[in-house]
């Protein structure tokens, strides 16, 4: 079937509606994966052209030019330079937008110079009348030597034209439209004599970038010393000259085929900007929006979250009552079902957060937030672009850290990456929820506030405050040289399209469920295994030893079973781990069972609850399904004191607020910073802060 699969790359500037075009071409037949070795999203989809012909569409990350400046953008050039790449396109579709056509065409001329058959899509054609724009398609097609599809992704108009052009892709021109070699004739003459069989523009891109392509490796170019004699500043001057030549060509073409009658244009942008970027109202609106988002995440989600929680509890009960009692049933109920429930419970919150973020991004408002917040964030060593990561961090640090990629300044980006895990991610929420329910009394304080709700709110404020303070300190300590290259496009305001928001939220949620789900499931199973096996005499003969010890006491059968179970847990593999670290965590007010939960939480915080559930149900053989909260309230030391008191509870809350307990985040930080140094700084730095604050809290409160 793949014999007739046309490979098509979708390329374009950000904010041109490229994703909408992709969604129209492929519908839900899309696949989101990663480029090998890096975490740049790779979106591909299948589009049916005719009975016998299909096209594989690759949605490349948005970029303003082939002179790329970020990891995401590098993907574009890596693919287009390498003919041996399995996704090297047969056809390139450059998506542009009717109002910014001039700037969008810069990238178009670069793609043409790669000599790939190219279609130009001019999107948002429905706005032409509104903006007084008229386009003479046939004249532009001739000037730019391409085929043009006027598309309006909002009304789906013009998608058919793209399909027709793809069907007849053999007729597309692959000639370049600019002779880039005129920027330095001597230099390019020499290049041509050395590499007679190569495209000069590709060579030029390879010289100015860190990419390899096909037969020629970057190193080979370096060996030809005559080409590296150019300093970076000389190269940049040439790139400047190249840009001027490209714009000259574009201006000439547009003069013939593109007219704007400004008297007919209506200006929504300036009306909205007058309010939304205002020095006072701008901030008032932004902070009100933030409040609305948090209200949605914490208030509107309680019903679906409780529903998920109770559904999984009854599923567990049902499985236990249906299956034969035994190891496998325990594993299924205490490990698998509890684990999956622990992941799915976050879904409502993640969905709401991503709905807000994608609506704000689609509408063009997010760029205004960047503009408003840049100066303030810079005081803390970050950028206006750090706002999105910090807000996303309240859902999950992983997408948040990936969202730092568009911060051009390395130091600002690094600081944002380092402090994002302080914000209260949704994995902390179940830990907070259960601890608050157990140790904070459910009563009113100061007349109106509920003590439990207030504690939760304070923990969120603590998360943001510690992120900001940590950034301020890191800004003073970290010495990294970097230039500020802050350039943010302020796109037109648009009404967000439901389809785009839906697909975005769906994909993000799906990847969260699978990524987090895998880890939690694996840990639940490993944990269950370690708790139900142990080395040596004391574990295997646990039952006999206990019976022997208590032979003179009058114990009921269930009391005896309980004693045996907890004795065995203590001498299982996981019990030994907990016992070993007990001296370290005792000053914080934790016993060895909490110790086990702390250890497993280093994989992912939310594992805490599941671990306690597993440990307490393994440790007691009673059949009634008590809720985990009741079990925690009843936990006592051998000496009789309660394990979960106000002091130990607050101490645990603070530990979880500060500690870096998420392997996936550490892995992402390693990849994004390309070194083990920064994830280790996070791991040890944050855990030290957590230990000290928890220690102080417990010693002070006990």
């Amino acid at each position: 079937m793949s014999t007739n699969m046309l490979k098509v790359a979708l390329i374009g500037n950000p904010n041109t509606g490229k994703t909408s075009v992709f969604n129209h071409l492929t519908g839900l037949h899309q696949h989101v994966g990663n480029y090998p070795g890096i975490t740049v999203e790779k979106k591909t989809g299948i589009c049916k052209l005719s009975q016998h012909q299909k096209a594989k569409i690759i949605d490349l990350p948005g970029t303003y030019s082939l002179n790329t400046s970020s990891l995401d953008e590098d993907v574009v050039i890596e693919l287009l330079m390498n003919k041996n790449n399995e996704d090297y396109p047969d056809v390139a579709i450059v998506v542009s937008e009717v109002e910014n056509l001039k700037r969008n065409l810069l990238l178009f001329t670069q793609i043409k110079d790669l000599e790939i058959p190219t279609i130009l899509v001019i999107n948002m054609a429905d706005r032409m009348e509104l903006k007084g724009i008229s386009i003479n398609v046939s004249v532009l097609e001739k000037e730019l030597n391409t085929k043009i599809a006027l598309v309006s992704s909002r009304t789906k108009e013009g998608i058919e034209t793209i399909l027709e052009l793809l069907k007849n892709h053999k007729n597309l021109s692959s000639e370049s439209c600019i002779d880039a070699t005129q920027i330095d004739k001597n230099y390019f003459e020499k290049l041509k004599t050395t590499f007679p069989n190569q495209s000069l523009y590709k060579l030029w891109l390879a010289i100015t970038h860190d990419v390899n392509f096909g037969k020629i490796e970057k190193n080979e170019l370096k060996e030809e010393t005559s080409f590296v004699t150019k300093t970076t500043s000389e190269l940049k001057k040439l790139q400047h000259r190249e840009t001027i030549i490209r714009y000259k060509f574009i201006n000439d073409a547009l003069k013939k085929g593109y007219k704007v009658d400004k008297t007919k244009a209506t200006d929504l942008r300036s009306k909205l900007d007058r309010v939304l970027t205002h020095r006072i109202f701008g901030y008032v609106i932004f902070f009100s929006l933030l409040l609305l988002i948090f209200q949605a995440i914490f208030d509107w989600t309680t019903v679906p979250m409780e529903f998920i929680d109770s559904s999984f509890a009854s599923l567990g009960k049902w499985v236990r009552s249906t299956l034969e009692p035994g190891d496998l049933t325990d594993l299924l109920v205490d490990g698998v079902i509890a684990g999956i429930g622990g992941v799915l419970i976050f879904v409502p919150q993640i969905v709401f957060l991503f709905i807000f973020i994608s609506v704000l991004e689609e509408s063009g408002y997010m760029s205004r937030v960047v503009f408003l917040m840049d100066r303030i964030m810079r005081r803390f060593g970050m950028s206006g672009k750090s706002v999105v990561p910090l807000v996303s961090g309240t859902a999950c640090a992983i997408p948040a850290i990936m969202a730092t990629r568009n911060i051009e300044n390395w130091k600002e980006r690094l600081i944002t990456i380092l402090v994002t895990p302080f914000t209260t991610c949704s994995a902390r929420l179940p830990v907070y929820a259960i601890l608050i329910a157990v140790v904070i009394p459910n009563k009113k304080v100061l007349g109106i506030f509920n003590a439990q709700g207030l504690t939760l709110m304070l923990l969120y404020v603590l998360g943001f405050a510690s992120a900001i303070i940590a950034a301020y300190i890191l800004n003073k300590i970290v010495k990294v040289k970097s230039k500020s290259y802050f350039v943010v496009e302020m796109p037109n305001y648009k009404l967000p399209m439901f389809k785009n928001v839906f697909i975005n939220v769906f994909e993000k949620t799906k990847s969260f469920i699978f990524e987090a789900g895998k880890i939690i499931l694996a840990i639940s199973i490993v944990l269950w295994f370690l708790a139900s096996n142990g080395p040596g005499e004391k574990f295997t003969n646990g039952a006999a030893i206990v019976k022997n010890e208590v032979v003179n006491q009058q114990l009921s059968q269930s009391e005896l079973d309980n004693k045996i179970a907890s004795y065995k847990l203590e001498h299982s593999y996981i019990g030994i781990v907990g016992k070993t670290i007990e001296p370290v965590i005792k000053p914080l007010g934790y016993d060895w069972k909490i110790g086990i939960a702390l250890v497993t939480s280093f994989a992912a915080r939310e594992v805490f609850v599941g671990t306690l559930a597993t440990i307490y149900s393994v440790g007691s053989s009673s059949d009634e399904e008590e809720t985990i909260k009741d079990k925690m309230r009843q936990e006592v030391y051998a000496s009789g004191g309660k394990v979960f008191t106000l002091a130990s509870g607050i101490s645990l809350l603070l530990f979880y607020a500060f500690s870096m307990q998420c392997m996936s985040t550490l892995a992402i930080v390693k990849r994004e910073t390309n070194s083990w140094k920064w994830p280790l700084v996070q791991l040890f730095g944050m855990t030290a802060i957590a230990y000290i604050t928890a220690l102080l809290a417990f010693q002070f409160l006990k």
């Binding site: 002179n67 500043s233 001057k237 400047h240 900007d273 840049d374 350039v487």
Partner: protein, 77 residues
């Protein structure tokens, strides 16, 4: 004649880009149309006149004051 930079523009004022040191300007801004001879208009500025929201060669972008100061212009409106 007194030389101005983009950073000295007031809201609504328009200038024509004269010259700048290529070294200190990101290539991305040049590609957005920051080229000698093109017009630039200050649309809005954030508190402390930083960052600046400008219309340059029909592209709307925000840049920081430190970059804006590097780009000299002649005011026309």
């Amino acid at each position: 004649m007194h030389t101005h930079s983009i950073a000295t523009l007031q809201k609504g004022e328009i200038g024509i880009i004269q010259d700048f040191d290529i070294e200190s300007i990101p290539l991305k801004l040049i590609e957005m149309g920051c080229l000698p001879g093109n017009t630039v208009k200050l649309v809005q500025y954030a508190p402390f006149h930083d960052p600046l929201y400008i219309n340059i060669n029909d592209s709307f972008v925000a840049i920081r004051k430190e970059i804006a100061m590097q780009i000299s212009i002649v005011k026309i409106v």
